[in-house]
Amino acid sequence: MQQPGRPARTGADEPGQDVAADHGLEGPGLDYGRVLIVDDDPEIRLLVARFLQRHGYQVAGAPDGVAMMAALAHGDADLVILDLMLPGRSGFDLCRDVRAASQIPIVMLTARGDEADRIRGLEGGADDYIAKPFSPRELLARVRAVLRRARAASGGRAADNAVVTFDGWVMDLRRRELFSPPGVLIDLSTGEFDLLAVFVEHANRVLSREALMQFAKTRTSDDPFDRTIDVQISRLRRKLGADASGGQLIKTVRGAGYMLAAEARRQHGEA
């Protein structure tokens, strides 16, 4: 997929090989995609590329906005990972430039703890963000989630599917925030949020423990303190139960698994 004319300045721009099928919930092949990483640090481009390639993605790199635009013009990316701190045009400006022309999903790399950057980025049209320094697994989870959302929108923007409501609860997938029916922000750990996102995407469908565990495994594979899916679910239930209405939302289906017993509706626009 090395395109002529695309600036290929670093080793990071090696075409990705379809090494392994991605073991996402939606089965192999579906999550697989082409990722463009835009970062001025050649080492980071190379390392992200290698990491994502190992998980089945094709990865190309671009050191700045000019190279990014050239790569996008060829239409050979399904998702862009965009660093905000770039030489020349900033990540914010580039994000807007891209949005003016296309609906391609964008995951921003923001400075950790810099809430202003995050908000500006999301308002500029990014679909998700991840703070630098990020954990590679976290990046993988985000890339996967955003691609899945973009595909669910069938050609539309991933952001259009970013807000989901269920039983009065509001979940903003882009900002990674959950609000109880009275509109109070309920804090979730990253794992809990991703788990709830899976439930919401498969509302009123029974998810087997195996499927959920597989999902959890991709996040925190060899963490020695990795809790079972049951612990995650009981924590999620406790937090949903903080509001009286949420206690019974996640049901245990004996012998089959768990189910979110609510209608989930996607909302357009911002929460």
Binding site: D41, E43, I44, L47, V48, R50, F51, A111, R112, G113, D114, E115, A116, I119, K132, P133, F134, S135, P136, R137, S180, P182, G183, V184, L185, I186, D187, L188, S189, E192, D222, D223, P224, F225, R227, R235, R238, K239, G241, A242, D243
Partner: protein, 459 residues
Amino acid sequence: MKAMLRRLWPDTVASRAILILIAALLGFHALGYWAWRVGADTLAASASDRALAARMLSISRAVAGVSGDAERSRVAHDLSDASLEAHWSRVGLTLDNGTDDERAGMMAARLREQAPGLGAEALRIGFAAAGTHNHGGGAVWRHMMLASLRLDDGSWVNFSISTLEPGSYEGWGAFAMMICVGVAIIGVAVLLLRWATWPLRELALAAERFSIDQAPQPLAETGPVEVRRAARAFNTMQERIQRLVTERMQAMAAVSHDLRTPITRLRLRAELLEDAATRRLVDADLGEMETMIDSTLAYLRGGKSDERMRPLDLAPVVETIVDEFQDQGRDVSLSGVGSAPVLGQAPSLKRAFSNLIGNALKYGDVARVSVAAAAGHFTVTVEDQGPGIPAEARQRVFEPFVRLEESRSRETGGSGLGLTIARAVIVAHGGEISLEDRPGGGLRVVVSIPKPGEEIRTG
């Protein structure tokens, strides 16, 4: 005794100035009074000497004007009074022993002034011998002067003068006046000095208010020239300190930001490691580094966040932190209410409570966390079973980079910013944080966050 003296010793500029004023005033008055007394004495003495000289001469003439011993004695006696006694006699009774005395010399001069023909032999002047007149003879100021004037026929008129003592005009009136004027001057001076030293007090207040965490408030450059200079110097110093601190903070922030790229690279490299155990260790180290950078940046932001305040539930925030520590195998437990809606910024509150619970585990090995609802606010209590913090150090531990025991902190790590950040965040939420002894040993940290629309009532 020393302490009492120290307390009496004037300490303020105004009181010292008043002390100096009083001393100067007293000195000036004493000197003036003395000069006035001496001047008045001299004047009075010369006036009375002149009058006495005139009387002595006229008595002599009157005695000379009559004949007969008895008659002369009678005239002399008749013309005597308490201050000037005259006796006629054939021989001069006065020993001329006073010519070297200033007063006697003056008297002689007055007599010769009024009777130019008075020969040296015709006047004897002296003083009564000590003891003779019940006047314990003052060496310089003898009170009984004796004088003998020779008449033309060789007989003498002898005078004893007892009014040499200057009239004892008791200066009480003048003294009282002096005191009144003094008091009035001091009263006015106190008011003026208070007015004049007001800018100095302002300067002191401004210096006390000065804090590196806040934008400097320039001091008004008013008052006397020295105070204006001091105020100007203070303002310049304040600006310089602020600039210095800002520069240092920017440098710290820049380093922290710049570290993110190498840490990201290391994280990605660690992911490529084949050995899972090594990978975990590297990840843990990197996590620690990130925590340090995060807390440095959080400290530099001073508890402020770009997040807006919005309704959020405190209980799940604390739950997430407790769960995370439990996943790391730490002894943490949570009790209390499951819902605590407040207005807040989730990332800041997470950091604050994470610091508090992390501290409890670091120093006390266990953390007992509870969330409770009270009137107007929610309290989050974190208890540990560590050594606690002595009462006198409880204020100091909130200051940045303060760690109680250097040796202990080396073991336990940490930047010394945890409590500083926690307090800044809690204060920014309108809340309070206090440190107490846990009954049975250990530290208890109590955090109060007001319910939406309420304020914490301190009382």
